[in-house]
Symmetry: C2
Subunit: 430 residues, 2 copies
């Protein structure tokens, strides 16, 4: 299996190898674009079976990655993300089966219109082409990202994090077995066979026109490198500096329930709230119970002067706190002047990801949802609903914070483009 | 009027000036994004009145451009594109009024879905942000491009061709007067106030994050420069190497009518057919009448051996002809092996713009329309329908040949992004 060889070499070799990878993916993309849904689904289901059947090998390969990671003194949280066990392998396999069960996004008629001259025009979903996915340590992303691209008829070039090298290679081998079993070209999903970071640079440069879009999934430094270097379109996945604004006309019980879930259900996901904004006009009624609830639940609160006055456990917030994605049981909190003050704060400090408002006043909710320029704007519900699964998209490859093509949860439908199919009966243009 | 000053200077000055232009456009974009439809329309209608009222000045400014162009010995076709007269100024003004009359693309609910937990999710159209438009000599593009961006709630940074410098400045001044009359920030539409090509480089580099997308409108060399240098997303507008395939099961009379219109209605537009493909199985019946019709209509035909055998006037086609956009009364022609042969030829030589099939066999039409990977695939109608107006989009800023975000005619709706508006009643995530 040539694609699994570990390459160590000079920059020129890597450039040549990556170009070849790009060409192979491109050559497979056309076949895949025209593949019937049943064939793509058969590949996914077969790949799931290979994952299940090679569980012992997977755990062994993962043990190699884990040993190397321990030797490098990786943080416990990182080690946990890297780990594969029986349950995680089963869940990875099941997720391929779930993706197979999604409606096929290719060929959907998105819009139909008829012109006065009798021309009928359908806007029909098509694959995008070749998608480059660059991700970090979690090995299951190899399976998820490959499967989502495949489902949408796109060839995928996957660049796994170097920590998960051996695990990802074997997961990829299972995907390739699935492709072969279904009679699809094995280069529909290629894995970059080197840990050398130069390979990432080659992907960002576009592999000679053989990558149509790059999806980075990882921390701030990866996303920043991608945004600086990419010469091809990127589905930007910036951090989620998520705000929850509690308005003077909020129902307190509802606000408590929503805030607790938004901040603490899981702290490490991008839809977790990082900043609490409370309407100054409702501060007397709202601020103390909300802040004490968070503190009592074990959340560190970094507040402005008013918030500090609530409880001795509140720490002072620095300017930096208003632009920080903690991904931890920490929240920044401050008073703002009504919905306009909340909007101004969010537009200054936010990351255009997800922001929420709690209020019983519909007009204020509408103003907030209209004026906050974020991918997802939520009224009276937890910000943790920022998720493709929760939106009903099935799985997601990430949450896009840019405005081009995809925005918000990127599921299989967002991994497609479209074409116009025009049907006439001899019409000519005047 | 600072924005109209002609700047001659060092690269560092241009960089600084362009960054300032970008910042001003960005600062206006938020106000514009939230502007009600009536205000945007009022600006467009007022601008149309200013264009009409300053007709004499416009003709004078244009005379300066024309004199400079003549001194540079520009080709007659270029001079014609540059010329403004009473009729063209009126048509430019009317096009602003027509754009004002289009439905507002911002705030449209594109999709609505309700989740089992009762969350209601609307996908709502929003502006993209700041659009950079780089175009060549036709001065009316200044008005059209500025108006289309404005209608979709986007700030625009316009870089006009250097030949139309004085004309574009005055047209831009009228747009700015319109913005002011409607109470919108005048930096909603800014014009690059220098002919220096370094300014284009600055735009392609993104003006410090202050350009969200670049729309190039011009010839091959501009588009190539944009594609090589751009660090921001581009709505690619490649050439239209448009094919018309006439199948063995075509109705000859229909094929003649469609071919004549596809090639000769106007030869200089991107939807004009450049290559005729005829099904080998129908050659005896179809090739001679189609080729003779074109020759008799004054069209040069460059053909393969079979086509050359039809008529002494047919010239031999070189390999280069299959990849040439003539934009003239010239066509290349060859036999192919059925619909599959046509698809293979188009996928090898085409530019993914617009391609057509003439056949009475519905299954063959469907295969062609499914497998040809072009923005527009047309059955039994002229390829010259590849046009935003003909699609019912109103005006268009161009035809996108890329697959990201916009594809095919780019009208005001394609100049928008979207956000998800989620409405709940206290829902939290499990």
């Amino acid at each position: 299996m040539e694609s699994l060889a570990i390459v160590h070499g000079e920059a020129a070799d890597i450039s040549k190898m990556m170009l070849d990878l790009g060409r192979r993916a491109r050559a497979s993309a056309r076949t895949l674009a025209l593949a019937p849904p049943e064939q793509k689904n058969a590949a996914l289901i077969a790949a799931a079976e290979f994952l299940r059947g090679r569980k012992a090998e997977l755990i062994e390969a993962n043990a190699q990655d884990m040993a190397a990671a321990r030797a490098k003194n990786l943080a416990p949280a990182m080690l946990d993300r890297l780990l594969l066990d029986d349950k995680r392998i089963e869940s990875m396999a099941q997720s391929l089966v779930d993706i197979a069960a999604l409606p096929d996004p290719v060929g959907r008629v998105l819009e139909t219109f008829e012109r006065p001259n009798g021309l009928r025009i359908d806007r029909v979903a098509t694959p995008l082409g070749v998608i480059g996915v660059i991700f970090e340590s979690r090995p299951n992303v190899t399976a998820d990202a490959g499967a989502l691209c495949l489902k949408a008829g796109n060839a995928a070039i996957l660049r796994a994090g170097s920590e998960s090298f051996h695990s990802s290679r074997l997961i990829h081998a299972c995907l390739v077995e699935g492709l072969k079993a279904a009679g699809l070209p094995e280069d529909c999903i290629v894995l970059v066979p080197t840990r050398d970071r130069a390979a990432v640079g080659e992907m960002l440069a576009g592999l000679g026109g053989n990558v149509d879009v790059i999806v980075p999934r990882g921390g701030k430094s990866l996303v920043e490198r991608v945004q600086t270097e990419a010469r091809v379109p990127v589905f930007a996945h910036l951090e989620g500096i998520v705000h929850l604004y509690v308005d003077a006309e909020a129902d307190l019980a509802k606000a408590e329930k929503i805030l607790l879930n938004s901040k603490l259900r899981r702290t490490g996901i991008c839809g977790a709230t990082e900043t609490l904004l409370v309407d100054r006009a409702g501060a007397d009624r709202l601020l103390a119970p909300l802040v004490k609830m968070l503190l009592d639940a074990g959340c560190e609160v970094r507040g402005d002067v008013a918030t500090q006055a609530i409880d001795a456990r509140v720490k002072p917030a620095s300017e930096q706190d208003w632009s920080t994605e903690y991904l931890d049981a920490i929240i920044s909190a401050k008073l703002v002047d009504g919905v306009q003050g909340a909007i101004d704060h969010i537009e200054t400090h936010g990351s255009h990801h997800t922001d929420g408002i709690v209020t019983e006043n519909r007009a204020k909710a509408e103003k907030f949802q209209r004026e906050v320029d974020s991918a997802i704007v939520i009224h009276n519900a937890s910000t943790q609903f920022a998720d493709g699964g929760e939106f009903g998209f099935g799985a997601e490859i990430g949450i896009a914070t840019g405005r081009m093509h995809a925005r918000g949860p990127v599921g299989v439908a967002q991994l497609t483009s479209f074409k116009y199919v025009v049907r006439g009966d001899g019409q000519t243009r005047a």
